[in-house]
């Protein structure tokens, strides 16, 4: 496939041409388009409203349809998120939907193999088992593990089926792996979930701080916006906290390459400087926060020298970063996986909130925090309760919130599970391992590649303790282990809404029919509920709705009066206005750009989503404790001391293994690995070693090395990069059966083969960013490692003086 000439090659140049703009200016429009070879724009019959679902940015676009087939995409010029731009995944990733699709349900036959069947056969099998288990063991025998890529209407419907139909607390999404800490930190600091800042704050800020957020590779269009500010007048100052020399680091005024597992020490150090150097807005803090004394007491133990020792950076750089943050007049901070997937994740993310609270820098243009999401529709998982929470950011420990839902759904209060917090993904798998979760329904996600300690995950799914139903569009590594596989429709094959990181809601309309017998997960779950015969107290079928539009209307009712209020939206308004940010009410139909503009937070005891936790252990606070502190709208400054990572390096496993992403792929590559441009750009996994470690280990570019942890070992070609010694990086996208590419050769090389099971005590997000690892050279490779030649994976210049490797390292700008 080739490109239309109107669009430059987004693989070679993921961020595209610069369109510089000044502080407070409007980000210029630049429309990106990709049509398949042989199709020109005038052959496109229909441009269908949608947005990209390949990362949490949610770039508005239109899907081009010709002859009943998707033939391309074009960025939406008027969209507030992307102003027409699309990154490599957005431009090319959708092509992966046109290959290798499941077109019929499958059931496991007597002989053990999966065989094709019709929907009735498959659903009857699911319902028979479900009924039997429900009668014998009750709702705690059922669990759901879904995705960050479904649509709001699907999540809300599943949430109602799980909580009001079955009554099980065992429901989570793979958002647990990407966004649970953002959610948890927002609840701890501000009382409920809800992104305080928005993308327009990039336009206004004079200072940007990215914590463990390799935006250049995870949200390329957001990074393009930042680059356009960096290239314009009034260039904002940029601080990057990342162990790797990412593209962000290259552009930073201060780069802190902290050791994985030391975020909290650094943040405590930054907070200490802000307090000591007097960069605190004392009046604002007194009026709008609680907990300053305790915070000051804890962070007093983190002078820059000690922080430097713990984090492996220079004290001078710590002070420089603090100064940039402390003296900025309009500071925007962002946080992502470097923080969220480390140990002490929630504690660390809360400290970023604290930095902004101390400076009173929230709710104004250019001033705010973006606790980023990873997956495209993660926000909807959280607000609809498909992550197990009660929908509408309601508090399971607040009986009045439970009652509201019982009335809304017309079911008994007791049906709605609220004896404790929802069961998180890792615990669901533990219950399945022990045999008390007996039916596990997995939808739109691939835990056999994406969860830590894969050996164990595969053993559980493939064993006979649990009946596994998988709804997916492909025969994934997970689907291969299922008892029943149900073929799903994907993006562009169904209609619904989803919400990006900055609360922007988009409508994604159906452009083409799904292949074969595949159908949307909304239809599948409604079918299940009907067959199970779930009913309301007054005897109506539960859920009583059938179409996406009806599901959306029901969700609007559920969201009324809560922070994520959708009551002022409609499909029609979304069609006309592209993206609208919640809260959006009838008297505020334009939506809401920033939360907490008046410094009043959602911490009122009767309104909040959670009564909070002790950050070190995750011990839950009670309603009485919460009421006694009387936050009444003030934000909470939560503090914690740094602890060493539980599976950190030691004498046997001396290096620090960290995992992450590359610009060309999303999650386990089920879509991006099937898009030719993307598959080719990063066809197979690699391991990044710092030049210093490589020299010590006798490894040169392309050599095969063996990585060993107590969990397992993998062999990978080495990419030698310029980085702090001691840290080893492996991309997490690649599964065992990574792709059809022959480069894979059937080897086992999922990063998560190496990662032990463990999670943050508050957010329950698995820790995959730090564990001890041993590295040995196995032998010579066949050339350079198959890693991209840009971003953090950029090769160190080697060879005779004067020679430069293609795409080699260039000086830090």
């Amino acid at each position: 496939m080739s490109e239309q000439p109107v669009v430059p090659d987004r693989v070679a140049d993921p961020w595209g041409r610069r369109t510089p703009y000044p502080a407070g200016g409007n980000w210029p429009t630049r429309v990106d388009e990709h049509l398949v070879a042989g199709v020109s724009a005038d052959q496109v019959r229909q441009w269908v409203t949608s947005a990209c679902v390949l990362c949490s940015n949610g770039c508005g676009l239109r899907i081009g349809v010709a002859d009943g087939r998707v033939v391309g995409v074009r960025g939406q010029a008027g969209d507030r998120v992307n102003r027409g731009r699309l990154g490599p995944k957005g431009l090319y990733g959708w092509q992966g939907q046109q290959r290798d699709r499941l077109t019929t349900p499958l059931v496991r036959a007597e002989g053990g193999e999966l065989v094709a069947c019709d929907w009735d056969t498959a659903m009857n099998r699911v319902v028979a088992r479900s009924r039997e288990l429900l009668d014998r063991w009750g709702p705690l025998s059922h669990a759901f593990y879904t995705s960050g890529q479904l649509l709001l209407e699907e999540y809300y419907t599943l949430s109602v089926i799980g909580k009001a139909g079955l009554g099980t607390p065992h429901m989570d999404g793979n958002t647990r792996l990407c966004t649970a800490t953002a959610d948890a930190a927002l609840k701890e600091s501000f009382g409920t979930d809800g992104q305080p800042a928005c993308y327009a704050d990039v336009d206004h800020c004079d200072t940007l701080v990215l914590h463990g957020h390799n935006a250049a590779e995870t949200q390329t269009v957001l990074w393009a916006r930042v680059l356009d500010r960096l290239a314009g007048p009034d260039r904002p100052r940029l601080v990057c906290v990342d162990p790797r020399r990412t593209e962000v680091a290259r552009h930073a005024d201060v780069h802190l390459p902290v050791r994985p597992g030391t975020n909290l020490a650094l943040l405590n150090g930054l907070l200490r400087e802000v307090l000591h150097r007097g960069w605190v807005d004392h009046d604002w803090v007194a009026a709008h926060t609680l907990g300053l004394d305790e915070l000051a007491r804890v962070v007093a133990d983190y002078p820059a020298g000690r922080v430097a020792d713990i984090c492996g950076v220079s004290a001078r750089d710590v002070l420089a970063a603090a100064e940039v943050f402390g003296t900025g007049q309009r500071v925007l901070s962002t946080v992502l996986q470097g923080v969220y997937q480390s140990h002490q994740a929630t504690a660390s993310a809360c400290q970023v909130n604290n930095l902004h609270l101390l400076r009173g820098m929230l709710g104004r243009p250019g001033c705010g925090v973006l606790q980023m999401n990873g997956q495209p529709t993660a926000q909807n998982t959280r607000e609809c309760g498909a992550n197990g929470d009660l929908p509408g950011f309601r508090n399971w420990a607040n009986p009045r919130h439970v009652r509201e839902l019982a009335e809304l759904w017309d079911v008994a209060e007791e049906t709605i599970p609220h004896t404790g917090p929802p069961t998180h993904a890792m615990q669901i798998f533990r219950y399945a391992e022990q045999g008390s979760v007996r039916l596990l329904w997995i939808a739109g996600t691939n835990p056999a590649v994406s969860l830590p300690d894969l050996d164990r995950v595969r053993r559980i799914l493939g064993g006979d303790t649990v009946f596994v139903v998988v709804s997916d569009a492909y025969l994934t590594e997970t689907a291969e282990l299922a008892d029943v596989v149900l073929p799903s429709a994907l993006w562009g094959e169904k209609t619904g809404t989803f919400t990006n990181t900055d609360r922007t809601v988009h409508l994604a309309e159906q452009a083409v029919p799904p292949p074969g017998q595949a159908r949307g997960d909304l239809d599948t779950w409604l079918d299940y509920a009907r067959r199970m015969g779930f009913r309301t107290r007054s005897g109506r079928p539960l859920p009583w709705w059938s179409t996406p539009a009806e599901a959306f209307a029901e969700w609007q009712r559920c969201s009324a009066g809560r922070p994520c209020d959708y009551t002022g939206m409609s499909y029609q308004a979304l069609r006309e206005r592209h993206g609208i940010q919640w809260p959006c009410t009838p008297d505020r139909p334009q939506g809401t750009e920033r939360l907490y503009v008046d410094g009043v937070f959602n911490t009122d005891t009767d309104y909040c989503e959670d009564f909070g936790h002790e950050l070190l252990t995750g011990a839950a606070r009670t309603e009485q404790q919460h009421r006694a502190t009387a936050p009444g709208g003030r934000a909470l400054l939560r503090a914690a001391h740094h602890t060493e990572p539980p599976h950190g390096p030691n004498a046997d496993y001396p290096l620090r293994l960290t995992t992450g992403r590359t610009v060309y792929h999303f999650h386990t590559r089920t879509k991006t690995g099937r898009a030719p441009q993307l598959a080719e750009a990063a066809p197979a996994p690699w391991v990044e070693l710092s030049d210093v470690d490589a020299r010590r280990l006798g490894v040169v570019e392309g050599d095969v090395v063996r990585l060993t942890t107590p969990q397992g070992s993998v062999e990978l070609p080495a990419r030698v990069v310029r980085a702090e010694p001691g840290t080893v990086f492996v991309p997490f996208h690649y599964g065992q059966r990574a792709s059809e590419s022959t480069l894979d050769g059937g080897r086992t090389h999922a990063a998560n083969e190496l990662v032990p099971t463990g999670w943050d005590p508050v957010s329950k997000q698995p820790v995959v960013k730090v564990c001890g690892v041993r590295v040995r050279r196995v032998g010579a490779g066949t050339g350079p490692a198959p890693a991209p030649e840009l971003g953090a994976a950029r090769r160190v210049v080697v060879g005779p003086p004067g020679a430069t490797a293609a795409g080699g390292d260039r000086p830090c700008t």
Partner: protein, 151 residues
């Protein structure tokens, strides 16, 4: 004056609690959160022991009235299965409760004799013990339905 008795009781109890947390961390490895956290909490108990050591020394010469009944014993091993986990955590809860109430006794005594060193120790150690109890309550409440109903 039986301050010596109180300090010894507390010292012994913290020791037993530390040991028991370690037992749980080792014995319930498959509960990934416990393995990491219980070790951390055992470390806290060890910090408390270090804080208590000079106080125990200071009041060593006082008479002591050793309890006739042996105080709560440390876990002698871990149980298996979901219910076993709940029972082990229950035992930890008993031990930690004994520690917490003994810190209260020490606070009362320390306040009476204006002993700043005792009051300083009580201040941060008791707060940690209270958090240990809060964590055990949280973890037990979460584990109970599945262990008691669905297993």
């Amino acid at each position: 004056m039986y301050l010596n008795t109180c300090l010894r009781l507390l010292h012994d109890a913290e020791q037993r609690l530390a040991e028991s947390f370690r037992q749980v961390a080792r014995g319930h490895r498959a509960e990934a959160d416990l393995a990491a956290l219980a070790d951390l909490l055992a470390d806290q108990c060890c910090d408390h022991l270090a804080e208590l050591a000079p106080l125990v020394r200071r009041y060593r010469e006082q008479p002591t009235d050793e309890p006739e009944r042996p105080p709560l014993a440390a876990l002698s091993g871990v149980r298996s299965g979901p219910l076993g986990l709940v029972r082990d955590l229950q035992d930890l809860y008993l031990l930690a409760s004994f520690v917490a109430i003994t810190w209260t006794l020490l606070r009362q005594a320390g306040q009476t004799i204006h002993d700043a060193e005792i009051l300083h120790a009580v201040d941060w150690c008791q707060a940690q013990t209270d958090e240990q109890l809060a964590w055990l309550r949280t973890r037990l409440a979460e584990a109970a339905p599945q262990a008691l109903i669905a297993s």
